[in-house]
């Protein structure tokens, strides 16, 4: 459903991505792994058109979306939980959830009720403004906000960062349930062990290039990869 071909990008003069290739099939969970600063977030931003690619192509459902504006790409069924959360500070929690809500189906899977069921904390805080949330609450809100667009592929960039162990566990549970509903997930996270347990495939990025990709078994069986590229 998402296919990235030879993606290149740069900030000003400094090149960050040197031709990234990978794909996410419908219903699949794929991870992007790599150390800090290797270009994972840049890859995500390039896919979403937030940082227009300087080379390569991005396909969603076979449609070439390269160079399209972010909203057009998102409307193809991609939902983003960005690095740094980017909660709307002047909107209440509830408004954060409904402002960009989108539902193509008549009975959308994700509604305010289902989000609140998953994150009761958000329901308690629903009248708070976005900037009055704790770091973890913001993270939950960011996940909820992306789900409210009822995406077919949800992209999470460090979605468990700053969450308590319990909360982190809940996010994983939630991702598992999203997966079981048949949605595709592209996830970046540093908890490789957890990811290895439920992701289908892994893509390891080093200095803007894909240096390894394969399934979970391959990753677990290959301590060398973890040592070399992930320093786990």
């Amino acid at each position: 459903m998402l296919k990235v071909e030879g993606l290149q990008n740069a900030y000003g003069q400094s090149r960050i991505l040197f031709g990234i290739n990978f794909e996410v099939r419908a219903g699949e969970v794929v991870t992007l792994l790599g150390r800090n600063g290797m270009g994972k977030t840049t890859t995500i931003n390039s896919i979403f058109g937030l940082l227009p690619p300087k080379g390569g192509k991005v396909f969603v459902d076979g449609l070439n979306m390269t160079g399209k504006p972010p909203h057009a790409i998102a409307q193809q069924g991609l939902g983003l939980v960005p690095e740094g959360r980017q909660i709307f500070p002047t909107l209440s929690v509830e408004e954060n959830l409904v402002a960009t809500r989108r539902a193509d189906r008549r009975a959308p899977k994700w509604t305010l009720e289902s989000i609140y069921r998953m994150f009761p904390r958000l329901k308690e805080r629903r009248r708070n403004m976005g900037n009055q949330l704790s770091g973890g609450e913001q993270q939950m809100l960011a996940v909820g906000r992306a789900l409210m667009t009822n995406p077919r592929l949800i992209v999470l960039d460090e979605a468990t960062e700053g969450l308590s162990p319990l909360m982190r566990e809940e996010i994983w549970t939630c991702l598992r349930s999203i997966k079981s509903e048949g949605e595709a997930i592209l996830v970046i996270d540093k908890n490789v062990d957890v990811l290895a347990r439920f992701a289908d495939r892994h893509v390891v990025i080093e200095k803007g290039r894909v240096v390894w990709s394969g399934d979970s078994a391959g990753l677990v069986d290959n301590p060398d990869i973890k040592n070399r590229y992930l320093h786990v």
């Binding site: 002047t90 954060n96 409904v98």
Partner: protein, 308 residues
Amino acid sequence: MLNLFLLQSLNGIQFGILLFLVAAGLTLIFGVMDLINLAHGVLYMIGAYLTAAFAAMTGSFAYGILIALPATLAIGIALEVLVFRRLYDRSHLDQVLATFGLILILNETVKIIWGSAPLSVPMPEAFSGSIQLMGNLRYPTFRILIIAAGLATALGLYFMVNHTRLGMLLRAGATHGAMVSALGVNIRRLFMIVFGLGAMLAGFAGGMVAPILSVDPGMGDSILILTFVVIVIGGVGSVRGAFVAAILVGLVDTLGRSFGPMLLRNLLDPAAAAQMGRTLAPMLVYILMAAVLYLRPTGLFPMGGGTR
């Protein structure tokens, strides 16, 4: 005496409403796009000129303003596409520089098209009289029309910003524009709509006051500063704040001018009171602003503070 006070209060409110009409668009544009648009006053002027031109063409004020509205909307959108769109992600000072340039351009263009002589917009017949309010208190109908139009606009805007999806998106776009678009909303079109709307509101204000104020190439500049005073007192980006502040400024200005000297006379001898009154009158709104900002450094209704 009481009657005069009531009448002057009404005058103050009416002046405030006028300021609000111009300020509403500015505060929206400021709050949502984080854009300091010095050229907003020029849009107000353009609204007045277009109303004057179309009113002369059609022979009717109502038609004039009805045609002028979409026309200012179109001009606003054209400006957005040509210039403002490129300014959203720039520093405030770049925006000041560019929109200062736009003021010069648009002022001069208006002068080239319509000349520097002020234009006339006749008062519409139906509203040229005055209404008996209470006792021997009469008030010009047209000013009541302005108050009504302003109140309606205020309510509409308040509802839009706080209780509609569009309003939420506006507020969201104000802080994390890129994020809004990454969630599937066409932020460019959103900004264009807001800008056009703001321009149209300013144009509407210009059109509405054309029958009672001078339509001349300087009219935009003279209202601009007052408009900024209003949005800053109200808290930038807050439509509700702009409304309260506008009424406050209108009342302080009008009542201060008419009753200030009277009050001073109780404290000082008449000559000194007159002198003092004259010196203070033009400063009143600025004193008000300085005092408000001293006490509440981010205006009366700061954005994102507390639940709305």
